[in-house]
Structures are given as structure tokens and as C-alpha cells.
């Protein structure tokens, strides 16, 4: 079976806009790295690796959303809930870089576009929605699952509209902007529902097995306990 390429290819968006988004992506990831450093515990590096590996795997699982159209998980909301927004963005960016370099999926000149949409916008939107919902939802596996579902739907549509904005700024073909925006929103709403189900099952499972590993279930950043042996 031939797996389809799934990220923005070279040439869809012109050079200057692609270059601009590489700068934006690098700057955003630098901020994420700095912020992630503050809350980093010993165990979070392998946990981040696992989240990235799981998202890589889940992105390969295209599910049908309509006749002749499929979708796959992007993973931003899932990553934000499990390891927090800063580390989460770094996890998704890792997946995108591995896919571009090893699997020729997502053009190298388009890497900034892809990173901004999926690592920055989706993770950021997913985090904000999940954090808001967890103020009212119970912090149980079911409550967390529901938050993950809704956060995923919003994050996927936000990422899709990120592409629409990039296309409006530097698209190399003359298609009506509104048409692209509507088409992307429609398909990605359905994809978001599929992603939401996968993310909900995943976070609810982790919350049942190891609630201490779920970033969104910590009430605040845990203060390092001085003297406690890891």
C-alpha cells in the first residue's frame, strides 16, 4: 500500500512567505525551548520522546472522513495535554522534521509552514481550549477525555486555517481564498472529530494508568522538592 504524503509540499506557497514562516517557526520553537526548560523534570525527556513517537505513529493512520477523502491525527492538542504546550510544540515539531528529512513528507522549504500550523498553532489552540475546559470539567479520565476531544477539534480547524492564511499570503496558484478556506474548514472539522476520538481515548488511558504523567492534571507547575531523590 502506498501511503500518501500528508503535509504541505514545496511550491504550494511561494519562497518569500515560506522563508518568513521558517523564521517564525524557529523563533516560536526557541521560545518553547526556553519555557519548557523551566518546568523540565528528569523524566520528561523520555516522556516527550514517547509522545513524539506516538504522534508519528498515529499520523500514519489515515481514517476515511468522506467519499475519497481521509484524515489523520495532527497531535497538537494531545501533546499539549500530555506534556504541556511548550514541550508539546517541540514534540510535534520533531515529528514534522523527521517526516520531512527521512520520509520526504512535507517539503524542506515548506517546513516552516508545517511547523507553524501543526506544532505552534494546533498545540497552542489545543492547550488554550483544554486548559479553559478543565476549569469546569472534572479532572477525571472522562473529563480529560472530553476536554481532549473538544480541544482536538478546535486545534485541527485552527491548523487548517493557518494553511489558508499562508496560502492567501503566498499561494502560487490563483484560487479564490474563500473557497480554499471553506473547503479546508469543512474537511478538517471532520478530521478533528476523528482526531478528537483518538486523543480522548489516549489521554483517558494515560490518566487511568499514570495520572502523574499528564501535564493537564497538575494543578500548577510542581515546585522541585529540594532533597528528594529522583
Amino acid at each position: 500500500m502506498e501511503t500518501q504524503a500528508m503535509h504541505i509540499a514545496n511550491g504550494i506557497v511561494d519562497g518569500p512567505v515560506s522563508a518568513l514562516f521558517i523564521v517564525v517557526a524557529v523563533a516560536a520553537l526557541a521560545v518553547c525551548a526556553r519555557r519548557a526548560r523551566a518546568g523540565l523534570e528528569d523524566r520528561l525527556a523520555p516522556m516527550a520522546g514517547l509522545v513524539a513517537a506516538f504522534i508519528f505513529a498515529a499520523q500514519m493512520l489515515n481514517f476515511p472522513i468522506a467519499a475519497g477523502i481521509s484524515g489523520h491525527l495532527l497531535g497538537g492538542a494531545l501533546a499539549a495535554i500530555l506534556v504541556g504546550p511548550w514541550l508539546g510544540a517541540l514534540c510535534v515539531a520533531t515529528v514534522l522534521v523527521v517526516q520531512a528529512l527521512l520520509f520526504a513528507d512535507g517539503g524542506l522549504t515548506a517546513i516552516g509552514l508545517n511547523v507553524v500550523n501543526m506544532a505552534v498553532v494546533a498545540t497552542g489552540a489545543g492547550f488554550l481550549v483544554a486548559a479553559a475546559l478543565l476549569r469546569v470539567l472534572p479532572r477525571t479520565p472522562a473529563g480529560l477525555g472530553l476536554a481532549a476531544f473538544i480541544a482536538s477539534v478546535v486545534s485541527v480547524v485552527a491548523a487548517a486555517e493557518g494553511f489558508v492564511l499562508q496560502y492567501a499570503l503566498g499561494g502560487t496558484t490563483a484560487l479564490p481564498f474563500a473557497e480554499v478556506a471553506t473547503l479546508m474548514a469543512g474537511t478538517h472539522l471532520l478530521i478533528g472529530i476523528g482526531e478528537g476520538l483518538i486523543a480522548a481515548v489516549t489521554v483517558a488511558t494515560v490518566a487511568r494508568v499514570r495520572p502523574d504523567l499528564v501535564h493537564a492534571l497538575r494543578r500548577s507547575a510542581p515546585a522541585p522538592t529540594i532533597g528528594a531523590a529522583a
Binding site: M1, T3, Q4, A5, M6, H7, A9, N10, G11, I12, A36, R37, L40, A45, P46, M47, A48, G49, L50, A52, A53, F54, I55, F56, A57, A58, M60, N62, F63, P64, I65, I69, S70, H72, L87, L90, C91, T94, V97, V98, Q99, A100, L102, F103, A104, D105, G107, A160, G171, T172, T173, L175, V180, L183, M184, T187, I191, R210, L213, A230
Partner: protein
């Protein structure tokens, strides 16, 4: 790393390996939402080649690394397994580097 975390990581990696190496063979082969949008407006022949119209995919240029062995997840099953292991290694390594984690005591 505690022993229990080791178990969790091992189990999680096993799930990821099974999803990418086995379950992915049953994934839909239809174009994804983005790819579908890229082709909207064009007419395609049976093999998916563009035959006319205007669509985003017309602007598409080839990938720099299209000739690499794993391009487009070429080797069924193995691609997923390699991808999961590489992503795990790069992910945990990069996070360690990028966040400037202090050396383990």
C-alpha cells in the same frame, strides 16, 4: 528514571510500534484533507495525474529528498517502525538538548 516509568515508556513504545508497523497497513489510502483541497479544481485521470483545471497542486514542486529509501514511507511496515524509533530517539535527545537540561546527578 524509575522502574515504573520504564514500564510505561516500554508499553507506550510498543503500542506506537504496532500502530505504525502493523495497523498503518490498514489505513485509508485516500488523499487527506489537505491533499484533497490541493487537488480541488483540477480534473484527474485514473492514476491521479492532473489533466486540467486550476488547483493548488499545480504549483507543487518535487521534494528535495524524493530519492531517499524511505521517501513516502516506501518500505511498508518497516517505515513505520523506523520512524517511531527515530522519532523517539530524536525527540528525547532534542528535548534534552533544546532545554539545556542539567546533567543527571
Amino acid at each position: 528514571m524509575t522502574r515504573r516509568l520504564g514500564w510505561f515508556l516500554g508499553a507506550g513504545l510498543l503500542v506506537a510500534l504496532l500502530l505504525a508497523g502493523v495497523v498503518s497497513n490498514f489505513a485509508s489510502a485516500s488523499p487527506d484533507g489537505l491533499d484533497h483541497a490541493a487537488r480541488a479544481g483540477c480534473t484527474l485521470d485514473g492514476s491521479g495525474e492532473i489533466t486540467g483545471g486550476v488547483c493548488m497542486a499545480l504549483g507543487e514542486t518535487g521534494h528535495e529528498l524524493a530519492g531517499s529509501p524511505f521517501a513516502d514511507y516506501g518500505v511498508a511496515g518497516l517505515s513505520g517502525v523506523v520512524g517511531v524509533l527515530v522519532t523517539f530517539a530524536v525527540g528525547s535527545g532534542l528535548v534534552r538538548l533544546a532545554t539545556g537540561r542539567r546533567a543527571r546527578q
